[in-house]
């Protein structure tokens, strides 16, 4: 696919996605709001589940790893649970963005087949809804870290940058995957299995410092490492930017490449959506 035609298709697709997202910002925000209320309505606790469910997971991981495996040893000078929170909180979001965002178009097929709806905004509003839920979890997490951990520093501000990077990356990946999963249900299953693997291959519950040699490069090549370690960096370490500037350039270069792939696939497959969904 590496020829002039493909690059042209990628650009055209990317422009289609950008234009229809830019034109429908209000609709996207409104749909994100509905998506959020939809996900949590009908239950007693409502949106509270966005906090409670992850909290249960955090408690379980803390128990299994800190109490069970590590014998309560602190890590990077803080309690394991305080170290775990800034890594696993962005993971919960990324996991949902990949799996739920990755099937967004298929899951909202009525918008594609029964209405005139800007299709490329579907994964975006889905990711946005998940991001609102992420904020609901992130805010209490920051408060816990501020009270029990290293507290706020000027370095905490870079969290905003990492949140932005996470949102952009997950939107791009959600567009890419949901475009593929719209035409093939297998892709959704593949992504769900893949993210389960990624959870263990990304330094979320284990520290990046424990890998050495060429394995380090393999772990760094995973863009999720950049984001997860970025959150942790902003919230725990009195330092600017995780890794080098080169690593940041790598992350954005990769994101740009994924954008082009997403644009190409969207351009090729979008005309089929209404026919196959």
């Amino acid at each position: 696919m590496a020829n002039g035609g493909s690059v042209g298709a990628a650009w055209r697709g990317l422009r289609e996605i950008a234009v229809s997202n830019a034109r429908n910002v209000r609709r996207t925000l409104a749909m994100a709001r509905f998506d959020l209320t939809k996900r949590y309505s009908g239950s007693l606790l409502g949106v509270g589940w966005a906090v409670v469910r992850p909290a249960v997971f955090i408690a379980v991981y803390w128990f299994a790893i800190s109490v069970g495996l590590r014998g309560g040893k602190p890590i990077e000078g803080v309690l394991y649970i305080l170290w775990l929170i800034p890594g696993i909180v962005p993971w919960f979001f990324l996991n949902d963005a990949l799996t739920i965002g990755g099937t967004a178009i298929r899951d909202h097929r009525h918008l594609v087949t029964k209405m005139v709806f800007p299709v490329s905004t579907i994964p975006v509003f889905t990711v946005l809804a998940l991001f609102f839920a992420h904020l609901m979890l992130l805010i209490p997490s920051i408060l816990i870290l501020a009270l029990a951990g290293p507290g706020f520093t000027v370095h905490t501000l870079q969290l905003l940058y990492y949140m932005f990077a996470t949102l952009v990356f997950s939107s791009v990946v959600a567009i890419l995957i949901s475009t593929l999963s719209a035409v093939s249900a297998d892709v959704g299953h593949m992504v769900r299995s893949f993210t389960r693997v990624m959870f263990w291959l990304t330094p979320i519950i284990w520290p990046f410092s424990s890998v050495h040699g060429t394995l380090r490069w393999a772990i760094l090549a995973n863009p999720l490492t950049y984001l997860i370690e970025g959150y942790r960096h902003a919230l725990l370490r009195p330092d600017w930017l995780f890794g080098s500037l080169r690593y940041t350039a790598y992350f954005w270069g990769l994101t740009g490449l994924l954008m082009l792939v997403a644009g190409y696939l969207y351009h090729r497959l979008q005309p089929d959506f209404a026919d196959v969904l």
Partner: protein
């Protein structure tokens, strides 16, 4: 994108072909291949159509004929392979009334959700909310989650949203099948109101009864091609004829496949073929001038000896009201009933039918056995006239004098 002022929608040389894959993964992989692997299937084949403003246009055709594909392309839900569609005005499409409703949200929330997904501003919905709730008429339930609704309540709400967003063109696809009779009448009332406001409605339904009740124009699509279009009457009649023939064909096929002795069928006794209407000059025609002779002819084959056969014909107007029926027992109309193939030519002498659509039916009768074979079933024809002779069905001549 504006169509000409007289037309709400103009469709030019529209073709839509799909690719069919044996597995869905093949389609995803095709995005990376230069030459696609799926088989092509043509859903619409070079369709050209004009939908005039202020009309209620019925689209008929069997399942899978391409009706829904056409509507989806017009609404912009899917794109055409080639050809153009020009639309003048805001379209509200009811491709499925209850789609887009979330079962967990309440009725009111779902109205917002549906309207937002249609791209309508919140302020505009707030304005129309009262009208929507009134139209839906589901009382207290409007504040309950939609999952507690009956299917009728869901369609009421869906219809209420779709008609209250002030569209210029309303597209209704098979939605009246749901809901009770009262709701159906309400929908028809709402659409009548639309028509009065000079708005255009495209209507797809399998209920020819509903179509006849309120459509003005018709389009008949079969296998992705337009078979007939124009005034509703002839289109529906041609379509009904087609359906009847189709039914007869499947019935016959079933009969052929049965090897036990089946009861004697009419076609085993007399078979009719080659029916045609001709004008006075002898050319095939379905349009005649006022007062012109109308000729029709057909072949019939007598396969088993029958007693006297008489022919008979009936003329009805477009509302199926009988204008004239010949006496089927009139011995003067006896035709050749000897075994073999015969040709019959009939001349209706200068009928005084006024301009309009009429239907010609006719049979060959064996009155002793009460047995008949039809040669024409409500075949439409048209009378045109130059001079205005008054209204009604037939011209009644007169003389007068002041005495």
């Amino acid at each position: 994108m504006a169509a000409s002022p007289r037309h709400a929608i103009r469709v030019r040389n529209l073709t839509k072909s799909y690719r069919i894959y044996d597995s869905s993964l093949g389609r995803a992989l095709d995005a990376f291949r230069r030459t696609p692997t799926g088989r092509a299937f043509t859903a619409l084949d070079d369709v050209t159509l004009d939908f005039p403003k202020g009309e209620v246009i019925a689209i008929v055709g069997k399942n899978g004929s391409g009706k829904s594909t056409l509507l989806k392309i017009i609404t912009g839900v899917t794109s055409a392979t080639s050809g153009t569609v020009e639309v003048d005005g805001r379209i509200s499409a009811m491709l499925e009334l209850t789609s887009g409703f979330d079962p967990e949200l309440t009725g009111v929330e779902n109205v917002y959700l549906k309207a937002v997904s249609m791209g309508i501003a919140r302020a505009e919905i707030d304005q129309r909310m009262a009208a929507i709730i009134e139209f839906a008429d589901i009382g207290e339930h409007i504040t309950q989650p939609v999952r507690t609704y009956s299917s009728g309540m869901k369609s009421r709400l869906g219809f209420a949203v779709s008609v209250n967003v002030d569209p210029d063109i309303l597209i209704v696809d098979e939605v009246l099948a749901v809901g009770d009779d009262v709701f159906t009448l309400k929908c028809i009332d709402a659409m009548e109101e639309f028509r009065r406001q000079g708005k255009t409605i495209l209507f797809v339904s399998h209920s020819l009864f509903t179509i006849k009740a309120f459509c003005t124009l018709g389009v008949w699509i079969e296998r992705g091609r337009i078979i007939e279009q124009g005034e509703l009457g002839p289109v529906v009649l041609a379509y009904e004829d087609f359906l009847r023939a189709e039914r007869a064909r499947t019935k016959r096929k079933r009969a052929d496949s049965e090897d036990f002795d089946t009861p004697q069928e009419k076609r085993d006794i007399i078979e009719v073929s080659g029916f045609a209407m001709r004008n006075a000059a002898g050319d095939k025609a379905t349009t005649f001038a006022y007062g012109e002779d109308i000729l029709f002819e057909f072949d019939y084959t007598v396969k088993r000896p029958v007693e006297a056969l008489t022919f008979c014909y009936t003329i009805r107007n477009a509302e199926q009201l009988e204008v004239y029926m010949a006496d089927k027992r009139n011995p003067a109309n006896t035709v050749d009933s000897s075994p073999g193939t015969h040709h019959l030519r009939v001349r209706l002498k200068s009928p005084n039918l006024l301009a309009g659509e009429y239907l010609l039916s006719g049979e060959l009768w064996n009155n002793d056995a009460g047995f008949y074979v039809g040669y024409s079933n409500k075949r439409p024809f048209r009378i045109e006239q130059q001079d205005y002779l008054g209204t009604g069905i037939t011209y009644v001549g007169h003389e007068f004098a002041n005495e």
